[in-house]
Each structure stands twice: as structure tokens, then as C-alpha cells.
Symmetry: C2
Subunit: 417 residues, 2 copies
């Protein structure tokens, strides 16, 4: 097989021009003009390659290739939206790889070289990142009926714009005939690893077998406004000090476990009133705990509760935790993992089973249909950063692997192996 | 003398209706509709009491009372703008007290009961609070030529509105004949204490003799964006964690000195990119250190520098401090303090010398003309909070004291004592 594919690299470079940043990355948060421009470019790419394009009411953009009239679909894809000042690969690589893989498999089927039992669709899920509109994985959550469409459409960004308004500003309205969950039989997705396991072990591709467990919270710290200069230190009920203690505690908590057993973070914060001369009355922030071990996560959540009690006492504030997401150590279907491994071996790629720490749209899809999730190496594991990078040979190897996986899925590979 | 003055209390209640909040306070940040409405009401009050109203180009609103044609002015005032969700007294009490004091002294002078050597003006300084437009004490800084007018007018709020635009939206444009620094001979201001010294010592009024020393900084914490879930803890360069360590260090620093010797705070923070799944690449925040002892402040600044080095190392971030304000332990003119004391004794009020921790417009004015700064008690010292409260009898005692001080200043009291 070949790992040269100049057309893929050329398309990838063209796509990376939308929302391009001076630092070599992209900035195309969901529903912004840069996201819409990328979607329009992708719609035109689909049209040129014989995929009729549709958009569903949650903003998910699909291209379908009919191979077996009336049969369910194998869906392959990822997302084109990005974090602010993000890298070029996260999501977008997987969408373009799916489009190339689908086109190749369809051509083979139409040439009579394959015996398909399913139709084929590629998808760009709306708002996987969740930086502008929370929660993340919004489009695939609506598609898999975990999130009501109306809730998603009414979600606002910090400026008060709703998802419905952001979508209406885009390049096309929703179509009645967009793919729906009932028509989907299989899902596949490829993504850069966003970690260093493949790179450090010198492995060419990863087959994702599990997601880390995660508990995510909204943290509210309530203090009392007062004058930053005049108020005696012992009289203060400083919400920002309370928040700082929580941030430091989350970090210390992770340091108390073996490296790699617990990841903790706080990354989003709103301070009220956020004035240079008034002590904060309230801080709202997120708190994210993840582990590859459910027991570790449970112990960490328990410890965090105690440490938050200490933070309340020291800062004379009231701190509330409200769980916003929770997922356990969920396995991908073993038959999908086996199909991924067989595909890698067929192509002669070194491979390993890997866990994903990050959530992906496949996290939603695997709960409703058999799903194959693939990784390619990511240099230094840099992610959500303009410096994110995957070498061309790794990116192209991934396209080959996804093509083989798609080929097998379309031909009923999960049924027959 | 009398400490009943129903008209003052009635005016104060009417004024407190502008920008009134459900929590019993006011919210009228500089140049907002609520601030403009208060200014318009005050302009009408001035007109009804025979003060021609003028507004200067920096938005300072004055009413003048001519007693001695061609003579310089005794200026008395404070500010009507507030912090967000603030109390009713901060600033506004001093403006209304000045207006009442001025009207009474003018009436006495016009009735032949006084022998004035100066004219009289009351002032509402624009944007003392600095919460919407930084820096604070903006109007009095322009008036005293510490801040160029053009710089003030070009200052933007977080939404990008300039001071010039905010002023243009107000009730009247600038007048050519507004008071200017060259015409001012004396300044007096009264304010609630924003501390508990008067209350705890059971003293009726305070004569301010010094300001605490202060060093204020802009803090920039530079880290690197990465994925909150996937990035290994040891690879993180989390700017928000670095910021949290600085906030905790500032607090610990204050705890290392005797109570009341050092006040520290961080109260304003901007996180980039502020996303739930991306580690912060940069945090911008303020840092404020204040002390009644210059040596303590110098030691604190020195220690803080060392602790910031530790925070950088622990968080793998780069932390820069840039000084934005610095003032020493500055004395008010002793002859002004003496005049304040003599006025309190004349009225039979218990009094004490006090320091001010907070900055006031008088902090600017005392650098250019002899200035008298007075305090009245503030219950529990609560400040920049809707619960801020001064008892009517204390507020009225303050009006009496400011009237006596104004009377003496207008009659050349500083020259003759």
C-alpha cells in the first residue's frame, strides 16, 4: 500500500487556511464566520466528489454516498470546529480523512471491487469543542438523542448569541433528508492522539479500546464584595481567594497519585464584579477530574470534597460543586477494536490499544452503534495549541487505516469476522 | 448646633433612587445611564439652589457660588459614580454634603454674617471608582494635571466604549467656563470611613492626616495552551494555576505581618482562552499591596517578588509584574488637619486623626492645594457592597462639620489660624 497521497495533503493545506492564525494554527469556534467558511469549503468538496450534502437541525453536516439502496449507513467523520488559537489537526484531520476514505471505498464499490451491505456517509459534527457553546460534543449529543435539540439551539455564548442564531448565519439551512440516528448502523472516527503514548512507544497507529473516566463540575464560590484597600484582611470573604485555593487543591490532588493516574484542571473562570478595587463577591469556574481508574477517580472526588471544605474555611466563602458531566471507564465494542487491529495488520502498521483521555464524538456514537476509534501520533502530544503537529507520513497512514476500516465496515466486516 | 436636617435626608433618599439595586445599594458606574441620570438630578438640584452648573471636558460637574468677584474658589465635593452593586454612601454622600454646606455658607455670606475672601464651588468628580474605566480618580487626575485629558477621553471600557463616547451620551456637553485648577485655592471633601476605626473607638468624626502607602501592579502570567484532559500533569504550563499561586501568596504575605500592617488583594482577572477544555495560556490580573508603614510595604514587595519566583517554578509559567500605581505615605497639610480639628471642637464632636487606606479625589487635590479630608463612621466598615451603611445621625454630623470647615476655608481660615 501507499502512504503518499498528495491530494489529501493539498486538501488539508487548503482547509487549514480557514481561520488560520499567525501562529500556524486555526481559530474557528463553532458557528463563527471562520467555522462557516470551512463548512462551505467542505460542502463544495463533497459536491465535487459526488456526495450530496445535507445539514441537520443541530448543524451536523453530512455527505452521503448511496451504494445499497435502502440500506443503513456506515457513518465516518469528526468535527471541523476548533478551540480558540488551536491546532490544524484536531477534528478537521478526521473529517477530511473520512471524506477521502469514503470516496475511495465508494469508487471501489461502484467499480465492482467490493460487495457492500451498507451505504456510506461522512459527517462534520457541529460544535464538538464546546468552547463557545457549552456543552462540548453538542451535535453528536443531539444526534444520539442525549441532548434535546431545543436545548442545544437555545444555548447561548458569552455574548448572548444562541446556537440557533449562529447556525442561521451559516451557509445553508437544515435539510429534511439529513441522516438520522435510525438510519445509522456503524460509526468510525480517526483523530490525532493528543497524548504521547504512540510517539513514545514508536507505534504507528492506535486502536482506542476505552475512554478515561471523568467527572466534571461547575464550581460556585460565594463571598462578599468589599473594598480591596480598606477592608481588614480578617473581615474579607474573598471569592477569588477561595477559587485560588480550589485551583491549587486540584493540582495538589493530582500530585498525590502516581503520574498518569489522575488529571485535574480548572480552565474557565468568571469573576464578579471583576473590578480593580472591589473584592470579588462570586467566582464561577469549571473543575475537571479524569482517571484511567474508576477507584482513583472516586477517591479523588472524595478528597476534593474535603479540601474544598478547608478552602471554604480559610477564605470564609461558600463553595458549591454541581456535576455537569460524568462518564465511567467506558469500553469501545471489542469487535470494533478487533476490526481496527485486523485492518492495521492487513496494512502492516505497528499498532497498540490505547485509551482516550479526551472526549470525542465517537464517545457518544459508541453508546448507540458499534464504533471504531483510531489514533495517529501527535508530536509531543501538544493539543489545543497552535503548535499541535502530526507528521505527514503519520497523517497519511491514518487515512489508509481509516479507508481499510471503512471498507470492512461497509462490507459487513463486523458481522462476519 | 443641630443634627436634624430633614431636607438633607430627603435629598439623599431621592438621589439614592438613581441606579438603585434590589439589595438596597446602587449601581451607577461612570458614564452609564444610571450615572447620567444622577448627574442630571444633581444639576437640577444645583440650579434650584442658585448654583450655575458647568461640566468640564473630563466630565467633572460643578456648581459655583460667587461671593467675592474675581477671587479664587474653595472647592468642596466628591463623586456620584459607584462600583457595580455598591452602597449608597460612597462618594454620593460627600457630593450632597458639599452642596448643602456650600448653600448654607453662601446664604450666610450673602446675609452679611460672614466675611468671605474666596468664592465657593461644589464638584462631582467624574469616574472616581475606575471600575468601568481605569484608572480610578480619573476626573480629579485630569483636573490636577496628573493625567492628560486626551488619555482619559480615549480610555475604553471592556466593551470598547471610550470615555469620550460615554460622556457624549450624557445630559450636557462641556462648558468653556467650568472651573480650572488655576482658579482653585482650597479643597475639602467628606466621605464615609470604609473602615471600623471610628466605630470601634466610638468617635464621631475623623480628620484624615495621611494616606496609606500603596503599590499596585498588573500581573501577566504566561503559560501554554493545551488539552485539559489529555495533557500530562508534568507537561502543563497552566497560567491559571500560576495565577492561583500568586493570589494565595499575596494572602499568605499579609498573614505574615501584624494585623493592619499590610493589606493585599487580587480582584480583577482575565483568562485566555477561558475555555472549559483548554488550559489557560495567559492570565492578566491586578495585585494591590497597601500599608500604613513604608518599610513594611517595601519588605512586602520584596518578599512578593521571591514568592512569585516560586510560583513560576511550580507552575512552569512566566510571571511579570508591571507597576501601575504607587503612592507613598503622604500627609495631608497639617494646617488643614488643624482646621478640621478646630471645626470639630467648635461643634463639640468627638474626633480623631485617621489614615485613609482607600484613595479619594482629595488624594489628588491635596498635592496641588491645601486640602481638608473628613470621615464619618461606617457601620462594620462595609464598603463597595450594597450593605454599606452610615447612620443618619453620623451622616448629619458630617454635614455640620463640612459646613463649618467650608465656612472657615471661605473666610480665609487657613491663613489666619
Amino acid at each position: 500500500m501507499s502512504t503518499t497521497n498528495p491530494q489529501f495533503l493539498e486538501d488539508f493545506a487548503a482547509m487549514s487556511g480557514f481561520g488560520a492564525t499567525p501562529g500556524g494554527g486555526v481559530d474557528r469556534q463553532a458557528g463563527t464566520p471562520a467555522d462557516h467558511a470551512t463548512r462551505q469549503w467542505f460542502g463544495e468538496w463533497l459536491a465535487r466528489h459526488g456526495y450530496p450534502e445535507t445539514v441537520d437541525e443541530a448543524g451536523n453536516q453530512s455527505g452521503t454516498l448511496e451504494l445499497v439502496p435502502g440500506a443503513p449507513y456506515v457513518l465516518v467523520g469528526s468535527h471541523l470546529d476548533s478551540q480558540p488559537l488551536a491546532g490544524r489537526y484536531d477534528g478537521a484531520y478526521g473529517v477530511l480523512a473520512a471524506a477521502h476514505a469514503g470516496a475511495r471505498v465508494a469508487a471501489e464499490a461502484r467499480a465492482g471491487a467490493l460487495d457492500p451491505v451498507y451505504n456510506l456517509a461522512v459527517v462534520n459534527w457541529f460544535n464538538e469543542e464546546g468552547s463557545r457553546f457549552t456543552p462540548s460534543m453538542m451535535g453528536s449529543s443531539v444526534f444520539t438523542e442525549k441532548l434535546p435539540l431545543a436545548t442545544a439551539l437555545a444555548t447561548t455564548d458569552p455574548a448572548g448569541t444562541t446556537v440557533a442564531q449562529a447556525l442561521a448565519a451559516g451557509h445553508r439551512p437544515a435539510d429534511a433528508d439529513a441522516p438520522v440516528l435510525a438510519h445509522i448502523a456503524r460509526y468510525a472516527e480517526i483523530h490525532i492522539e493528543q497524548g504521547r503514548n504512540l510517539e513514545e512507544s514508536g507505534t504507528q497507529v492506535g486502536i482506542v479500546d476505552r475512554t478515561w473516566a471523568a467527572s466534571k463540575y461547575r464550581v460556585t464560590v460565594d463571598g462578599a464584595q468589599s473594598h480591596t484597600g480598606a477592608t481588614r484582611m480578617e473581615d474579607r470573604r474573598d471569592a477569588l481567594y477561595g477559587a485560588a485555593l480550589v485551583i491549587a487543591a486540584a493540582r495538589d490532588l493530582a500530585a498525590g497519585f502516581e503520574p498518569g493516574l489522575l488529571h485535574t484542571s480548572v480552565s474557565e473562570m468568571y469573576v464578579l464584579p471583576n473590578s480593580p478595587v472591589t473584592i470579588a463577591r462570586q467566582v464561577l469556574m469549571n473543575l475537571d477530574l479524569r482517571s484511567p481508574d474508576e477507584d482513583v477517580l472516586a477517591r479523588a472526588v472524595d478528597l476534593m470534597g474535603k479540601w474544598i471544605g478547608d478552602a471554604e474555611e480559610r477564605s470564609r466563602t461558600d463553595i458549591r460543586l454541581e456535576q455537569t458531566h460524568r462518564w465511567g471507564l467506558v469500553a469501545y465494542q471489542p469487535e470494533g477494536v478487533a476490526l481496527g487491529i485486523a485492518s492495521a495488520e492487513r496494512l502492516g502498521f505497528t499498532h497498540t490499544d490505547v485509551m482516550t483521555v479526551a472526549g470525542h464524538d465517537s464517545t457518544n456514537l459508541k453508546d448507540v452503534v458499534p464504533t471504531v476509534m483510531l489514533f495517529v501520533p501527535s508530536v509531543d502530544g501538544i493539543s489545543h495549541n497552535e503548535a499541535e503537529f502530526t507528521r505527514d507520513e503519520d497523517a497519511l497512514r491514518g487515512v489508509e487505516l481509516l479507508t481499510e476500516v471503512t471498507r470492512r465496515l461497509v462490507c459487513g466486516g463486523l458481522e462476519t469476522q
